[in-house]
């Protein structure tokens, strides 16, 4: 593979092509006449793909390793559910509310952690996530606490929901592609690699960190809201740190710093988690182990491995 392939614009283009290919393949899956249960698993897998994309935007592209994605998903879901529960608001209001509400909170959280580096940022976002979850879980008057809240649904047909979520993944992936291809994407990457140097090169770091936080949180909230309409229930369990751990595993295993990686990771990890759960509830053990192995030895994840193999095959063909 000639070196020019390493140019960011080319890397991204390859990335998007693979994502679209993957999604195209997924289009055919319902034709396999699967049980509603299996379809449901795939749909939740797509939910996690959205979450993985959102977290990767923040962590893989901007270098902000937030521990709060699951919390924002929960928050988004609750915005919709609470509006429906207390005010009878329909999804027409509920969905935008989830997006805007999460974006706002994401902005605030981002503003809070602006000056913090690596572990401090993670700690603070972790604290935020836990506080949010405990708050929602304990506010029985307001949120019905652990019982959760109902959410109206968008459609009844599960297959329709499958394609809907698949379309969402394609949409999100493409939006992220457009962002990362633009100069703003370059700014985020620069901030990831060296925020101080980025500042000195004329990039308003504060503004773009906030932007990344806001967009990522809004995505998480939107995904949470969508999940809520599918499962018709939101509960504080959505915001468990464990869920964030799952999302992080998906991105690390799939390939952090890419678009296809998180999606691939999400689908593979979630599908295997169902299978591993049947074996004996060892899914988190396996994933945590895989994360450590990948982070230690295969930092570019499955996506990176795949690219390597592809590159080797291509150069063999040339010789």
């Amino acid at each position: 593979m000639s070196q020019i392939e390493n140019l960011w614009s080319r890397r991204l283009a390859r990335d998007l092509k693979c994502l679209l290919l993957l999604c195209a393949l997924m289009c055919f899956v319902p034709l396999l006449d699967l049980s509603p249960y299996t379809l449901g698993i795939l749909i939740v897998g797509f939910y996690f793909a959205l979450m993985a994309l959102a977290w990767n935007l923040l962590a893989g592209f901007t270098g902000q390793f937030s521990m709060a994605p699951a919390a924002f998903s929960m928050i988004g879901g609750y915005f919709t559910a609470l509006l429906n529960f207390h005010l009878g608001a329909t999804l027409w209001i509920g969905i935008p509310a989830a997006i805007i509400g999460s974006a706002l909170l994401g902005f605030l959280l981002g503003a809070t952690v602006l000056r913090l580096k690596g572990p401090y940022l993670s700690l603070t976002t972790l604290a935020f996530a836990e506080i949010a979850r405990v708050f929602i879980g304990n506010s029985h008057e307001f949120t019905r606490g652990d019982q959760g809240l109902n959410v109206p649904t968008l459609m009844d047909d599960r297959i329709a929901y499958y394609y809907f979520f698949l379309a969402l993944v394609i949409l999100m992936g493409s939006l992220i592609f457009l962002l990362m291809r633009s100069k703003y994407g370059g700014y985020l990457l620069a901030i990831r690699d060296d925020a101080d140097a980025a500042e000195s090169r004329g990039i308003p770091v504060v503004r773009f960190k906030l932007l990344a936080f806001t967009i990522s949180s809004a995505m998480c909230g939107f995904a949470g809201c969508m999940y809520g309409t599918f499962s018709q229930l939101v509960s504080p369990e959505m915001g468990l740190l464990q869920q964030t751990g799952l999302i992080i595993s998906m991105v690390v295993i799939g390939g952090i710093g890419s678009i296809t990686g998180p999606v691939l990771g999400a689908l593979l990890v979630y599908l295997s988690s169902e299978w591993l759960r049947d074996i004996g509830n060892i899914q988190l053990i396996v994933f945590a182990l895989l994360v450590m192995i990948f982070a230690r030895f295969f930092r570019t994840g499955l996506w990176g491995i795949f690219l390597e193999i592809y590159a080797r095959l291509k150069s063999k063909k040339h010789n």
């Binding site: 690699d193 140097a197 500042e199 090169r201 770091v205």
Partner: protein, 242 residues
């Protein structure tokens, strides 16, 4: 007739805890000059540079760029006004290709994609980085990274370039390339402020110099006279500095 200097520094000071790092320093940087800022370790020259580039704010005093005060602007704001700074420890965007580094630097300064691309290509040539331009910047050698950082700073010719020990730990051949780069840019009117320990380089590049010691300016003027100034010689030879 008095020509407005490019940069005017007026009585800036900075104190860190009990240490007066910079003590009422004032000087002008005329257009088109290569000005050297020298002094033994701990003399305050890097602190002055940090105050000029927005990393630190002076406790008192004002800095002017072409007559307008710039004292409390952030580094990115200063960059857009034409004050560019190079770090002592080279900072590039390691996980992006060298070419992408240049592109991003250019776009950040307001160039369009096409302009940035053209400029980047010519800079790559000028800095002899063609054979590594598509490698990740983190994989470049130390000297190559330094050249890349040069390139990034000059995607948009700045009004003034603040260089912090650019020749420290650099291969002699690279040093040559960098010197030539600085001199050729200077001939087109580019102003430089150079902090350095390297006397031969300072002598060969800098028209004028300022020498600091313990936070104060102890000598300024044409480089040759500054280097022969007995105060300067004593500052370097005598005294304890960390």
């Amino acid at each position: 007739m008095k020509v407005e200097p490019l940069l005017r520094i007026d009585g800036i000071s900075k104190r860190f805890g009990g240490n007066q790092a910079v003590d009422h320093v004032s000087f002008d940087v005329p257009h088109g000059i290569i000005l050297g800022l020298i002094g033994p370790n701990g003399s305050g020259k890097t602190t002055v540079l940090n105050m000029l580039s927005g990393e630190l704010f002076p406790d008192e005093g004002i800095t002017y760029l072409e007559g307008s005060p710039i004292t409390r602007l952030s580094p990115s704001q200063l960059a857009h006004l034409g004050v560019i700074r190079m770090f002592q420890m080279t900072r590039v965007f390691g996980r992006l290709s060298a070419f992408d580094n240049l592109l991003i630097a250019g776009r950040a300064m307001g160039l369009t994609a096409a302009e940035a691309s053209t400029r980047a290509q010519s800079l790559v040539q000028e800095l002899t980085l063609e054979h590594v331009q598509y490698l990740d910047a983190g994989q470049l050698s130390g000297g190559q990274k330094k050249l890349l950082e040069f390139g990034m700073c000059f995607m948009c010719p700045p009004k003034i370039a603040l260089l912090d020990e650019p020749f420290a730990a650099v291969h002699p051949v690279m040093r040559e390339t960098m010197s030539r780069f600085i001199q050729s840019r200077n001939q087109s009117g580019q102003t430089f402020l150079l902090v350095s320990h390297d006397m031969p380089i300072v002598k060969s590049l800098c028209h004028e110099s300022i020498c600091m010691n313990t936070g104060k300016i102890i000598s300024q003027g044409p480089t040759r006279s500054v280097l022969e100034d007995p105060n300067v010689i004593e500052a370097y030879l005598g005294g304890d500095h960390e």
